[in-house]
Amino acid sequence: METKRKGICARNWDCLLAYGLILPSLIVFGIFMFYPLFYTIYLSFFDWNMIKPIKTFVGWKNYIALFQDPLTYTVLKNTLAYLGILLVLNCVAPYVLAFILSFVIKRGQSFYKSAFFLPSVISLVVGSILYLWILNPISGPAAIIAKLLGIPLPVWSKTPGLVIVILSLITTWKVFGYNFIVIFGGVAGVPREVIEAARIDNVPLYRIFFDIVLPMSGATGIYIFIMTIVQGLQYVFTPIKVITQGGPDNASSNLIYHVYQEGFNLYHTGYASAFAIVTMALFIVLLIFEFKYVEKGIYYEK
């Protein structure tokens, strides 16, 4: 098929058309994606506050300051905590759910798919305000139930550690459905006969999951794994900004929110730029690591 397609662009006019069709997208991406990327790299070597007419060149100073600031490590630690929770809830859990829905349960598939997807069309600001009220430690429904059971609810938005768990849960409420649907597509692609054969042989469900389903739907799994890391951290931004503003004492800030705060609250433009670039570098390292080890493990292990 590929050879047949060659020659389509034989005439110059066709070539022109081919590039012309991509041009609008390229212009938008050029101005609002690639130029900003390079400009942020440029800004990261300057001391600036977005308003002053003069930017002072400071070399690597922003990067050095970044690695010397203890706050950086707090934020990094928080980010890892967010990632851990988000990956379990939005990567592992939907995988298990997709498996159960495809191969264990016989009825209600399409109902569950529609229903689980539903919250993912609702604004995270709505989600944040709803859960803020439901989990309000004094007057919310959760507090009332907890009181009946004799357990006092902690003021979670002021409790380090717990605040990350709750904000991750709120984010999960939105992200879960989408991830679940995409993973379902991958899991449902595993041939049914293989699973049926294994079940007739009384292979336990967890073995079917780990030995058959997981390896055979690996590509989709990796895609969701990466997307959970890259987009999950950015989704968490909304509940952080709306509910805690990074508090208490930066205990709920993550890499994304911290850059926002440095850039738009404190006007440390150069420092924020350096931090953004380091964040992106971490994402890239993560992706390379991911591709190198996880993917290899899935495809070539057996």
Binding site: F29, L130, M280
Partner: protein, 273 residues
Amino acid sequence: MKNKQEYQWHILLCLALFFSLLPIVFAISNSFKDLSEAYNNIFNLIPQYPTLNNYIQVFSQLPFVSIVTNTFLIAATVTIFKIITGIMAAYSFVYFDFKGKNVLYFILISTIFIPFTVTMIPNYLTVSQLGFRNHILGVILPQLSDATGIFLIRQAMRTIPYSLIEAARLEGAKHLKILWDIVLPLVKPAVVSTGIMFFINSWNEYVWPVLVLKDKVNYTLPLALQLFISSEGGTDFTVAMAVSVVTMIIPLVLYLIFQRYIIQTFTSSGVKG
């Protein structure tokens, strides 16, 4: 024995669903209660004394008509442009061979991995220089094209048998005609569901508008909603629920109408091979 096991799974799944859908039911029910009933009768899902007061309050507390108009205008414009630029680019990537095609595609798609913190400062400066800070155009401009859209529409176009296109080409059909008469009708489900998702995402968007829009008159719904949040849940709690309901009603209705398309498109969007 197998039936019993299935039964247990159903209970577990329904429990999970209960917790994920409960907040939505709560919001709708409390938006029709007055404040004292909402506090005293939290678990009453059907209000004892239903009232529209909260919805009326919304109009007196906020420039509500312009907020809804802004939200709609931004979402509609962004969606239309993302779909048009997406169809154009996808058509080119699928049906033309040209120098640098794969590299170009890779570069466009890899932008999905650029965190927004990397682009937000320069984009804020660009939008300010153009004079669109505090204007809905400032929200719209950076979003006229979208890598996910190109990806999803390209995936759909690739499933069309190439012989169909070739036959039309042999009969001398122009590209525009092929796109309009053959390709578009076949990728319609994917285009519609991608468009609906763009609209919903833009409707719900928070991060970029909160940087660009400063005055309440220019706000979108999620920004307006944020005004009702304080760490204690806010005193105008029932009004906040009314704004929440207005914010989520459009996405919910769109989803309920197009859910088949949407579920199908995203189920098959996973990377294969």
